[in-house]
Symmetry: C2
């Protein structure tokens, strides 16, 4: 069995930076608990490791009980009001917002102040999109699927940004809807290249293999998309969180018929999880 | 023979305003010659009438010999440097630039000053486009057909405007090229509704008739486009400048086979030319 591992599998720049910072902070001596505001990444393996090192996940401000707490803002970023509330309790903010997401916050903040209607192309329930929307007082129109085009009527000027992990196809589709309805639009292509490069490489591999394994959390937006683009080119594509998950799947497949296996991983998947999967396959 | 005349045939708002102003000025008593900077509209009938009333066409600054001359700027508009030169000879400028075109000048001027690359979607040889380009020191990238996409590489921020008379199809096509190449784009849909409404109505009529007549000059951008969209739906579509032109065409057609005739006219075609054509058909 030949295994082909994607070069761009795993942690992207922003996630790597956030996880490594959390990891190194948790290893230093300190009295206070360290919070991460929301799960630091969509990966149970990493989360359990960090938990064991004393990083506590706070899902809301109410869960941060002590003032002057140290609070890590994850790569996904948060809205303006969360910074205000954290400053209100004198929290020591460790801001690990991905710089590419921070740029989106700045654009949204600037154009909202100028009176533009903000439009976000992305998943309204995704933390990154919720955070972006928090830079225009949660007034954004958020578009992805099943679009009600009437929402775009009567807008004189709009500023459009993209959730970093959406596909270029989805972006183009929605830009076309927007330009048919709005006269003056500021378009900011904020799709992260890390995502599209990872997808393009995964497609290349999926075309050539009998079995394609995508490693990552089913909660992760970029992992789910990686799975769906691979599935288009390789019917036998599976999404697994780690090696234990893979074992169950292997039991259901006729392994002898498989000559080539492709592997890629979402932006929140650490290297050791990928290594585990490869080990199991071998 | 049933004749169906488009409601939106003929003069658009901007042209009507320019021609009526030229006409009324030429009828007033005055000592000076009145110049129009370029042909006031693309229509020989109107131009001859105005010429007979003392409106002289100046195709360049050199042709305006007397200082303090009265100079009409036509609906198409001109670049910033022409205003400067006219002011330099103390000309009395009668600015009949269509307000929709003037708005394009303002956008281009503003974003050029902010360091944006200006992109004009339109015909590089059309006076309107030449005028628009004169608001960014003639530095615009002008796109229409046979596009060399490499021109769009390495542009960090761009501002796109449309020649008022282009089709929405062409606009969408070029916006898609642009968004695939440039990260930050300010899109200004400056297509004039008068043009698209006229086109949509003409298509509706062309679908129902045996013969479609488009009245206007072959020099006029919007007339040529009106002709080509009608031709798609009615093979027997003809472009005529007026009734004399139509006579020649009628000689070549088997008129007895025609039951329904559709008529539309470009933005530069005066009402009396349309009336003449209807009279001849009757």
């Amino acid at each position: 069995m030949e295994i082909q591992l994607a070069k761009k599998a795993g942690f992207c720049f922003g996630v790597k930076r956030a996880v490594e910072t959390a990891d190194s902070l948790s290893k230093k001596e300190h009295d206070d608990v360290i919070y991460s505001y929301g799960e630091i990444i969509h990966n149970n393996n990493v989360l359990e490791l960090l938990k064991s090192q004393g990083i506590k996940v706070a899902n809301s401000m109410e869960e941060i009980t002590n003032s002057c707490a140290r609070v890590i803002i994850r790569a996904h970023g948060v809205g303006k009001e969360i910074y205000n509330e954290l400053n209100g309790i004198n929290a020591d903010i460790i801001d690990m917002t991905c710089p590419f997401v921070k740029k989106i916050h700045d654009i949204v903040n600037e154009y909202y102040d100028k009176g533009y209607q903000i439009i976000i192309v992305g998943d309204k329930d995704h933390p990154e999109v919720i955070g972006i929307n928090g830079w225009c007082e949660n007034s954004a129109i958020i578009l992805y699927d099943n679009i009600d085009e009437s929402k775009l009527n009567n807008i004189s000027k709009a500023c459009i940004v993209a959730q970093t992990t959406i596909t270029r196809q989805k972006w183009n589709e929605i830009i076309n809807l927007a330009i048919n309805n709005i006269k003056h639009i500021v378009i900011n292509d904020t799709i992260c290249n890390a995502t599209s490069t990872r997808q393009a490489e995964a497609i290349d591999i999926a075309k050539q293999v009998d079995l394609m394994i995508v490693i990552g959390s089913p909660k992760s937006s970029n992992t789910k998309k990686l799975y769906s683009v691979c599935k288009e080119f390789c019917e036998a594509t599976y999404l697994v969180e780690g090696s234990s998950n893979l074992k169950q799947i292997m039991d259901t497949i006729n392994i002898t018929s498989i000559q080539k296996v492709g592997i890629t991983a979402g932006a929140s998947t650490p290297k050791w999880v990928i290594d585990d999967v490869i080990e199991l396959l071998k």
